[in-house]
């Protein structure tokens, strides 16, 4: 039942703003006139959107898989938890901040080119264009994919490894028979998520794309709303974006399907393919390079921030107001996202696999799709729709706040679903029969058995959602959020009036706050507690 409510809530939150926008478009008599030139343009940008998203996804996932394996093979090295927390950080940075960090490393006058200059390479390589877009997307999404794939590997039951060791399996056979079947669902989920994120990417594509040849549907949507103010065209373009992306994901089976984790005693990971000495070298190299790739631009953000007058920024009441507002919105959005995701995951699970009744099958499918759909509706469309619904934003506070929280929660939903679902399936499969035989049901079961088992994914999901919300400029901000000032809003305000140093300082503080939260969430859900039980 809760699943139905959650689903209806998500459906309404998405559909109502769009419906309002459509009715507004009809009543204002706007007409979409797609001339021949326009439709050729549309074809071109649609192709570019899907092409860059496909390539970005492929690269991100292909790097994430070996990296996640290496991290799973080496569960105890100094700084491992820090590294995994760091991997959630790119999500929480406003794209522009991350882009500037990337440019400090890979740009024309970046570190990489300066290094080459030392070796006598005269002409700097330029990242602007498709290569820049791919680089930025891999930087944003490879760490995310790694984090999504890793838990599946860490949940592998000890018996598997014992059996594998007895059979003398190693290397690729191990991957094929044990790791891949376990990872498959997480990889598909991660790939689907990354594909959507890249297909709807806006700032990164425009800043690093080099010119209008790199135009995505999201840019066209933004332009149609901002400059042409043509709600009908906005809805049409959004429809194309949603339908195509979903079709491709369904075609590639990236909308995840459940698997059976089997019953197990859980616990220890005595992997037969883990040896010390020289054998650690490839793993160490891989992890080191991955860490460097993610940490480099972050370090650039830190250094740029240190040049700012931090004491003055910290002494500014406006900064604290923005921080409090950002955190309030972020925490509320994260809780809401977890609540909805939890209800939907439960509904999908109780629908059974394969679903026992037709209505349940439909519910299950829709929940799966809803966990994806929310990312494909451009925030600017949601923002405009909500703004219309609220009858403008002047003088109101609660309504725009609620709208921002809802939009942020919707944006975080796919992330939380992907973290929560596999873990929930595993926990249920392991504890379901046990609880039944002990007669533990309802709230007691939730409190004593299920909740501890999914505490880690819950906190991870919360951290993701919060980070995402903290870095979000807020769709509704485009039309004025009279007295709601968030950190990214303040940051853009500073950037928009020459105060680059202040903006860099704010980016650093935002980064520190996000990192702190993620670390805390990761510690709270520390799996070592699980192992002690």
């Amino acid at each position: 039942m809760g699943g139905v409510i959650a689903l209806v809530a998500v459906g309404l939150a998405l559909a109502v703003p769009i419906a309002v926008l459509i009715s507004f478009g009809i009543s204002s008599g706007g007409s979409s006139s797609a001339s021949g030139n326009q439709s050729a343009y549309l074809m071109r940008i649609t192709w570019f959107t899907l092409m860059q998203a496909g390539l970005s996804t492929l690269l991100s996932v292909l790097i994430a898989i070996p990296l996640a394996r290496a991290l799973a093979r080496r569960p105890h090295f100094a700084g491992r938890e820090w590294l995994i927390s760091l991997f959630a950080l790119p999500l929480g940075l406003p794209p522009l901040v991350a882009a500037l960090g990337l440019i400090e490393i890979w740009g024309r006058s970046g570190l990489a080119n300066q290094g080459l200059a030392l070796f006598g390479v005269q002409t700097p390589f330029s990242i602007y264009g498709l290569s820049g877009i791919l680089l930025a997307h891999v930087f944003f999404n490879m760490p995310l994919a790694t984090r999504l794939i890793l838990p599946a590997l860490q949940r592998l039951p000890g018996e598997y490894w014992k059996t594998a060791a007895n059979l003398g399996l190693g290397g690729f056979t191990l991957f094929r028979l044990i790791e891949w079947p376990t990872m498959r669902r997480s990889v598909a989920g991660a790939a689907g998520l990354v594909f959507m994120l890249c297909a709807t990417s806006f700032t990164l594509v425009l800043v690093l794309g080099g010119g209008p040849a790199a135009t995505t549907l999201e840019v066209a949507i933004y332009q149609a709303l901002r400059f042409d103010f043509d709600p009908n065209r906005v809805v049409l373009l959004s429809g194309i974006q949603i339908a195509l992306t979903l079709a491709i994901m369904a075609g590639l089976k990236l909308i995840s399907a459940p698997t059976d984790p089997g019953s197990t005693k859980g616990g220890g990971t005595m992997r037969p393919d883990v040896r010390g000495g020289w054998a650690t070298l490839p793993d160490a190299l891989l992890i080191g390079l991955g860490a460097l790739f993610v940490a480099g631009p972050m370090a650039a953000v830190v250094f740029a921030g240190l040049a700012a007058d931090l004491p003055r920024l910290l002494g500014d009441p406006l900064f604290w107001r923005a921080t409090a507002t950002s955190f309030g919105i972020g925490a509320a959005a994260a809780l809401l996202a977890i609540l909805i995701a939890g209800l939907m995951v439960r509904a999908r699970h109780s629908a059974g696999d394969p679903p026992t009744r037709r209505s349940l099958a439909i519910l299950s499918t829709f929940s799966g799709a809803a966990g994806s759909l929310t990312l494909l509706v451009p925030p600017v469309v949601l923002g405009a729709g909500w703004f219309l619904m609220l009858g403008g934003g002047a003088g109101q506070l609660a309504a725009p706040l609620a709208a921002i929280i809802t939009v942020n929660a919707l944006m975080a939903l796919p992330f939380v679903m992907r973290v929560l679902e596999p873990a929930y399936q595993t926990a249920m499969a392991r504890n379901g029969r046990l609880s039944l035989s002990l007669g533990i049901t309802g709230f007691n079961r939730l409190r004593h058995i299920d909740l501890p088992a999914i505490l880690m994914p819950l906190t991870t999901g919360f951290a993701f959602a919060l980070a995402l919300s903290l870095g979000d400029l807020g769709a509704i901000a485009l039309f004025g959020s009279d007295r709601i000032i968030t950190l990214p809003w303040l940051l853009y305000q500073k950037l928009g009036s020459y105060r680059t140093d202040d903006a860099a300082g704010l980016a650093l503080l935002l980064g520190i706050a996000t990192m702190g939260l993620i670390l805390m969430a990761d510690r709270l859900g520390n799996p070592s507690k699980e192992e002690r039980r």
């Binding site: 440019i103 800043v207 010119g211 009858g391 305000q493």
Partner: protein, 336 residues
């Protein structure tokens, strides 16, 4: 049930930090403007103090992202807009703003206003202006381009960052600049220039950020940009290149909404806008040229700025009628 309690908890958490509107006098004026105008360091707060000193009223600002967002907000709100004045549109948006039918003639004497090219309108009053210019980093460029032709045909290794005319006003400014100099040859000029363009950013902030971080030695901005660096950062490293064909002009205007709750007060503010009380705050807070007399001298830095001999400007109607076609032309040329 649980959801609502979460919501209210979040609202309560965020509430104490959100400034409550002042309980002021019984007369109220709300002004829609762009975000950087009302920032703490912008002219908004100082102008508010100056106006409230004599008006027995409460002035409220509502800031949105930029001039284009301002117009969009109006279109979305329509008759429901609770503001008296919209301040921050530019001449490229004036025709569209009038087409909404939401504005009234101001009915004021605008003799105090003086802008290059003498733009005058019965609905919108200019309050400041600035010319677009290529700003260059004097530490990496010794001989800046002396004309738009130089810029178009110059060394492709010396890059410039520009803004996208589809999403930003300065980007549209450069498009109109090239169009007014090259006319029918604009597409060919853009094709040549595209070799020098490092990247095309969605807005001014991204482009200027790339420029100051040393990614490109040139950026499209305003003739007044160097003044900020001279006055606030005490450096003359960043300079504007003077172009012999002339510079395209951006004039920022304000207008009176026909649904203004208190039209009398709104007109009072428009009149105040043309006096030193308002204009004094423009140069060093908004970094533009004042459109009327100030009572204080401009900072010395302003005397050193490029002051174009020739001003280029299309009428609002020309822009409104051709924008879509010109952007298509730009897209075609830049995508080749």
């Amino acid at each position: 049930m649980r959801k609502t309690s979460l919501f209210s908890a979040a609202l309560v958490a965020a509430f104490p930090f959100i400034v409550q509107p002042a309980i002021g006098a019984d007369r109220e004026l709300t002004i829609y403007t762009y975000d950087s105008f009302v920032a703490e360091w912008g002219p908004g707060p100082k102008i508010e103090a100056a106006f409230e000193a004599n008006c027995e009223c409460d002035l409220k600002w509502v800031g949105v992202a930029d001039g284009v967002a301002l117009l969009n907000r109006l279109k979305l709100e329509g008759e429901k807009a609770k503001a008296g004045i919209v301040l921050g549109l530019d001449t490229n948006l004036v025709a569209e703003a009038k087409a909404t039918g939401l504005f009234d003639a101001h009915g004021l004497d605008t003799a105090a206003i003086s802008v290059p090219g003498g733009f005058a309108d019965d609905t919108f009053i200019p309050y400041d202006y600035g010319h677009f210019a290529v700003i260059y980093d004097s530490q990496s460029i010794e001989t800046p381009p002396a004309s738009l032709k130089d810029l178009v045909e110059g060394d492709a290794d010396q890059k410039i960052v520009i803004q996208d005319p589809r999403t930003s006003t300065p980007g549209l400014g450069l498009l109109l600049w090239v169009k007014s100099v090259y006319g029918d040859e604009a597409a060919a000029a853009w094709e040549k220039l595209s070799g020098r363009v490092l990247t095309v950013t969605p807005g001014w902030s991204e482009a200027y950020g790339l420029f100051t971080s040393g990614e490109a030695p040139m950026v499209l901005s305003y003739t007044t940009s160097p003044a900020y660096h001279m006055v606030v950062e005490d450096t003359d490293r960043y300079r504007a290149a003077e172009f012999s064909e002339g510079h395209y002009l951006q004039i920022e205007v304000a207008g009176l909404l026909s649904n203004a709750p208190d039209k009398e007060l709104a007109r009072e503010f428009l009149a105040f806008m043309m006096t030193p009380g308002f204009q004094n705050e423009i140069p060093t807070n908004n970094w533009m040229w004042p459109a009327a007399a100030t009572s204080t001298d401009l900072p010395e830095a302003f005397a050193t700025l490029v002051n174009p001999e020739k001003t280029l400007l299309f009428s609002p109607e020309e822009v409104a009628g051709n924008r879509a076609a010109w952007i298509d032309e730009w897209l075609g040329a830049m995508s080749r």
